[in-house]
Symmetry: C2
Subunit: 461 residues, 2 copies
């Protein structure tokens, strides 16, 4: 029962050939998607093969434990729908549609049942930036979700100089008690609270904190998932295989769901070192894109995104349209690229095919971000930026967030029908986001295995 190869056969699909008004169509913020235009081939294939796709995912989730939670930034260019970043410490639960928190609660119950059924008490470890009240609201929502799943939650802070439990107020008015983490032997907790598991909502950009290293309680996600260990290039290497398997399953060109990428291991933007490596790899990725654009008759200008390989928070990211630009980076850009969150210097970068976003919400450039817990899509939002172009990173100051809704008021007989329908587009987004979550699951397995091997070697040394 092989599916017909739909996308390549129907030929060119580009911004240039689309009716002009689809970009302005139906731009209500709370719409499920802002687009009702193209992408019909991929969506049609995904919808037609829905039963096979879900069956395939069920098989994958039997082999690989889904991340406890994750969020995936997608870019939808009309001819391509691809993940560009996969976050294992999602910080935007406050931006999800609050009507769908019960979905998060169920998914959290499922994750706990699967990963740590004996857990009653959880220590939630957030980021340290207590002045970001929206981030604190994310922590508050997350706490509520975990409590909804029947867990007792307290918040263990990694703030180095936190002298005592400190109450902070989040942007939504929730009060949170941040308590200093206490370690006794190989267990951590807060005063009077011995949790069965630790849930990280801190991406550990600054390294694995000593107080958490080697503890006997399970840590979710595993400590090695933090950005001091994790690399985007490793994630997208694994994603290559996942995308290939998926593309074979549904009979499409994997490129349609997978951005080309390369990497450089030794750059120093401040000292202008590693420029040749960067230029060569930018040229390699641009050439690959050019070839694909030619194959599909796409008239757009290829571009790449250069990012810190361990970067987060939208820091250390630039758009590059030609090799010349690499050679002529100005001081300001080089400074921006040189250090990222928590002052970490950037020496490794990923050079990723840039995917135009053709989504627009309320006049701002937009990209969908899909949230998952366990194996389930639990919501999402549009990241919208009025000051950014369709070939730029939108995860930067000034971005706004518009919740994505699941459409459920569909009672007409053909509601499963047209690919352009918002609920169907959201289904497709959920499929591609789950491909990235699956890649993250395999990636974390590999990191845990590698870490175990290193520990054995250290023990034998």
């Amino acid at each position: 029962m092989e599916c017909k190869l739909t996308l390549p056969e129907t030929g060119p699909r580009s911004r240039a050939v689309l009716p002009h008004d689809w970009l302005d169509y139906d731009m209500v913020p709370h719409l499920t998607t802002s687009l009702t235009g193209p992408l019909q081939e991929l969506e049609r294939v995904v919808l037609d093969r829905r039963a096979d796709i879900e069956h395939w995912f069920r098989g994958q989730w039997r082999e690989h434990q889904p991340p406890f939670y994750s969020s995936v930034d997608l870019r939808n260019s009309g001819f391509k729908l691809a993940p560009v970043d996969t976050n294992l410490f999602p910080g935007g639960f406050n931006n999800l549609n609050p009507d769908f928190l019960p979905l998060c609660v169920h998914a959290a119950m499922s994750a706990v049942q699967r990963i740590c059924p004996d857990t009653r008490q959880v220590l939630l470890v957030p980021e340290n930036h207590t002045r970001n009240l929206h981030y604190l609201q994310n922590v508050a929502v997350l706490k509520r979700v975990l409590e909804g799943a029947g867990l007792t939650v307290r918040i263990g802070s990694l703030i180095p100089d936190l002298p005592a439990p400190t109450e902070v107020e989040a942007s939504g008015g929730d009060k949170l008690l941040l308590e200093p983490i206490v370690r006794r032997g190989n267990r951590v907790g807060v005063e009077g609270f011995d949790p069965c598991a630790v849930l990280l909502n801190n991406d550990l950009s600054g390294g694995i904190p000593t107080i958490l290293a080697g503890i006997e309680q399970p840590v979710l996600p595993p400590l090695v998932s933090g950005w001091s260990v994790r690399r985007k290039s490793h994630h997208f290497h694994v994603y290559d295989r996942v995308a290939e398997d998926f593309a074979r399953l549904v009979g499409i060109d994997p490129w349609v769901v997978n951005p080309v990428f390369s990497q450089c291991g030794k750059v120093n933007f401040a000292e202008k070192e590693g420029e040749d490596c960067l230029a060569a790899n930018v040229e390699f990725v641009l050439a690959e894109i050019r070839e694909k654009y030619a194959q599909y008759g796409i008239k757009d200008t290829p571009f790449v995104i250069v990012k810190a390989d361990a970067g987060t928070y939208g820091m250390g990211i630039m758009t590059i349209r030609s090799v010349d630009e690499v050679r002529n980076l100005n001081r300001k850009t080089r400074n921006k690229m040189a250090t990222i969150k928590e002052g970490q210097p950037v020496h490794e970068v990923i050079i990723q095919e840039g995917v135009y976003t053709f989504e627009n919400v309320d006049g701002g450039t937009a990209e969908p971000v899909v949230y998952m817990m366990d194996q389930y899509v639990v919501g999402g939002f549009y990241r919208v930026h009025t000051g950014r172009a369709i070939d730029e990173n939108l995860n930067s100051p000034g971005a706004e967030y518009k919740p994505l809704a699941f459409e459920t008021d569909c009672h007409t007989p053909d509601c499963g029908g047209k690919p352009g329908d918002p609920p169907n587009r959201f289904y497709t987004y959920g499929v591609i986001a789950r491909l990235a979550a699956l890649a993250a699951a395999i990636e974390v397995e590999q990191l845990v295995e590698r870490n175990a091997a290193l520990e054995v070697r250290a023990a034998n040394a």
Copy 2:
């Protein structure tokens, strides 16, 4: 960490001692619950012990496979909250809040992942009454949920004389194609469709259909869950144990969540046979209730509900307030009790403690019905009847259905707080309903085991 025994200690709790106006408080149909009054002790215990309760359920669901789906009729008398009927072929998915269908989709995905991960195609077998357009809408919603979970669904009808695929239109406008079930060897399907599993939404009151007997495909729920095999008294026997375990866990008197019951195996209402048995058991149950009412200082009049032990659709049910009533049943009542769905004669009855319902929606007597799929509460509704009293069965012609919502707009810091809050009451309803679903899980396990033993005996005979 034993919990204090809260309910008995705080003493009498009865309709008589409650402020009069709580019955009229906040009776908006779409409210999560119609009550904001008493039940505070049980709710307080349940909320205080939430982490332990969810931990306990996780353990139970590791031991016992949850029913694919179920619905539980609850009665809330203010001093008691108990299940009175557990349905393994729920027929009211059309009455759930459509906003929460994504919860059903996730739960269905979870059930499929757990029970039959290899399944892609499902044959849905509904009841035969095609003139009940609301029931057909239930089938349509169920089909949509299963499709949402990535299954391909066709509807196999047991209608004996269905000559060919027949399109019917449900009350919501959905069109359904009912197709004659075709059996080839030990597999069933419909023309051109070989499903991996059969999902029953038909309670098999008339017996296990020959066309489904002994098929190799998994049947959900198992064929022995049908009312030709299942008995309410068996369910409530198992529930006795579940309620005791739960009551021990949270430190309450199990009676608070468990109706007293007894049974009679040989009655014939038409011929006035078995009257002595019925009278003796009615007296036994009434005496038990009297004792409990005395213990808690409850001033209400005890009553029992006599029901066909294999009855469904609200048929074969009567309210009995004294033994004299049993001796003086009029012809009309005896006829009503003599036969039930599909003309099945009634010979076995369950005599169950009547639980007053003190819930009232829009001036009608109301009782909550909670829906579950897999281990998850996915929604519910109030069954409301303006023509019935608070000691009568509400599942009868003239009943209306008002969806229960999950409250999610709770953003105040103390939102987990007061027991009377609607979301908290719904949580408590979900806990008690899940106790009944757990009893059903164990009950079906026992039925499957017994059936397997019978088959072995038959094979050896």
